[in-house]
């Protein structure tokens, strides 16, 4: 009993404790060896700079722009990923036709195309939205495709024997059995969307947290750079958390959620 309670507390107590310990070591060694703050600023300096950043309304507007790019790109990827995934999952000859292309696109490092998107869609938000969407699209589409093809034939038989209509099949079977696959794709997809938007901001434009990274770099403001990275980490965490909560809410019956709820000792 008590050991399982300890197990549940461990991530919440142990991880922060570990971070505190690591930061202390970092702080002490930077001071002890007199490392230049340009190369590695001590955590205390970063914290100070972070404090300034979060009080600056300009930073918030940059953060908001990045967040919007990610969310819009991600939603676009979800819509397109579900559409394409379902169509390819249902139409076997089409899937076989495009399969080689999908494999090819998968192995191509898609970030290599980012400059091209900046040329095509400009330095504003739309190019970043599209880059985020492109990166998030593949894991979502591929998972949905796999999900559609993995619907249990036994379950299909049950529905057939019950003389279920098309819509009834969809709501009671297809939709529900694809859901875990879609959410797994979304978990990967949201992380990719964050990467896409930030890389897009690195390369073009003058807004967003990715742009702030470049700007602090050019100003040789290492503590500021670290501060912005922390903000980006928080943003990524919040977005990932949102998908994670969505998953708990939508598929509480699924193994991936069920075990985490402490149902299994």
């Amino acid at each position: 009993m008590s050991s399982s309670r300890l197990g549940r507390l461990l991530p919440w107590v142990g991880a922060p404790l570990l971070i505190v310990v690591l930061c202390t070591i970092w702080e002490v060694s930077v001071r002890a060896f007199d490392v230049s703050t340009l190369i590695l600023p001590p955590p205390s300096l970063i914290a100070e700079r972070l404090g300034e950043l979060v009080q600056d309304p300009e930073v918030w507007s940059h953060a908001w722009i990045t967040a919007s790019e990610i969310i819009m790109g991600f939603l676009l990827a979800v819509v397109l990923g579900v559409l394409v995934g379902v169509v390819l999952g249902k139409v076997a000859w089409l899937e076989m036709t495009v399969r080689p292309i999908i494999v090819l696109l998968q192995v191509v490092p898609k970030v290599a195309f980012v400059p091209l998107f900046v040329i095509w869609f400009g330095f504003g938000m739309s190019s970043k939205v599209i880059i985020a969407a492109m990166l998030a699209f593949f894991p979502i589409m591929l998972n949905v495709l796999l999900g559609v093809k993995s619907i249990d034939p036994g379950h299909r038989d049950v529905m057939t024997a019950l003389n279920a209509g098309k819509m009834q099949r969809f709501t009671n079977l297809d939709f529900r059995s694809v859901m875990p696959y879609l959410l797994a794709g979304m978990e990967t997809g949201i992380v990719f969307a964050v990467i896409g938007a930030i890389v897009g901001e690195y390369l073009g434009g003058n807004e967003g947290l990715g742009y702030m990274v470049v700007r602090t770099l050019n100003q040789l403001d290492a503590p500021g750079l670290f501060g912005v990275v922390v903000l980006l980490a928080v943003l990524g965490l919040v977005l990932y958390g949102a998908v994670f909560i969505l998953k708990r809410f939508l598929i509480p019956w699924h193994e991936s959620v069920y075990a985490q709820q402490g149902n299994v000792a």
């Binding site: 038989d157 279920a164 079977l173």
Partner: protein, 284 residues
């Protein structure tokens, strides 16, 4: 028209949804059904020229070696697998039109598969009541029926559980409850009690007998167990493998309902012996 059994297997408050215009109790007629499976590597003649008439309210047990085509025959009768030749007639109406099913006929059918095939996203209540949901029965009525049926199969305490929390035998009992929820006139059961312990199995055999007598359902019951086949069936049909053919049909001359101790009688014993001999003589 409707007999209300002690545990209320038939709902006693008929509504248009859960009691569709009831046809006369149904009959099954299998006419020269053959099935050939052709894969790249192999051509399996799973069934060859099967002919069988099952009258209303009759229970037919189907036995035979593993792989002799029992499930295949049941799937053809359930509208899941088109026969290569021949057809199945339900109360005189053909079930198959080429590769398409006469879907109206399916409404009379209840099917228990060899595996439970429960839906992991539904709790036990919703799994049992799924057939009613598809028929548009309201939530309250569905819950009432599910509770009733869960009690019947001894799972009254698990209504809110999910399939993953149940044992194999418990899942199979849920599948049985699901098949019964529409009060089918025709019940097709593929080794429904295979995953149960001997005592639960006997209890389920008695329940099945009670239910099918009360609802006058026509039943096809697949089993590996010869004495179960004799206990349950009015007739026992024995299939031989490759090609799957009817080897013998044995009349069980015992009145139903049968108490469990019928198994100790000489008539029961000799029927079981005859069937065992028939099965053994198959090896030659």
């Amino acid at each position: 028209m409707v007999q209300t059994s002690p545990a209320g297997v038939r709902s006693d408050a008929p509504t248009p949804e859960n009691n569709p215009p009831e046809a006369a109790p149904a009959t099954f007629s299998i006419k020269s059904v053959s099935k050939v499976f052709a894969t790249k590597t192999q051509r399996t003649e799973a069934l060859q020229d099967i002919n069988l008439d099952i009258s209303e309210g009759e229970t037919v047990s189907l036995i035979g070696r593993s792989g002799c085509g029992k499930s295949t025959l049941l799937r053809i009768m359930a509208g899941l697998l088109p026969p290569t030749e021949g057809n199945v007639y339900v109360s005189g109406k053909p079930l198959w039109k080429g590769h398409a099913v006469e879907s109206g006929v399916l409404e009379q059918l209840g099917v228990v598969f060899q595996e439970p095939h429960l839906f992991p996203w539904f709790d036990i209540t919703d799994n049992i009541a799924l057939p009613l949901k598809l028929r548009g029965v309201g939530k309250a009525e569905r819950r009432r029926r599910a509770t009733e049926l869960a009690d019947l199969v001894g799972l009254g305490d698990f209504l809110k559980s999910y399939p993953r929390e149940l044992s194999g035998g418990m899942r199979q009992r849920v599948a049985i409850a699901r098949a019964l929820s529409r009060d089918p006139e025709l019940l097709l059961m593929d080794e429904p009690f295979g995953a149960l312990d001997a005592l639960t199995r006997e209890k389920m055999n008695l329940e099945l007998q009670r239910i099918t007598l009360a609802t006058e359902a026509t039943v096809v019951f697949v089993t590996h167990d010869i004495s179960e086949a004799v206990f349950i069936g009015d007739r026992v049909v024995q299939l031989t493998p490759r090609p799957g053919r009817i080897q013998s049909i044995v009349e069980v001359g015992l009145d139903r309902p049968r108490p469990l101790d019928v198994q100790a009688t000489e008539a029961f014993g000799s029927t079981v012996r005859d069937l065992r001999h028939a099965l053994e003589s198959e090896e030659s």
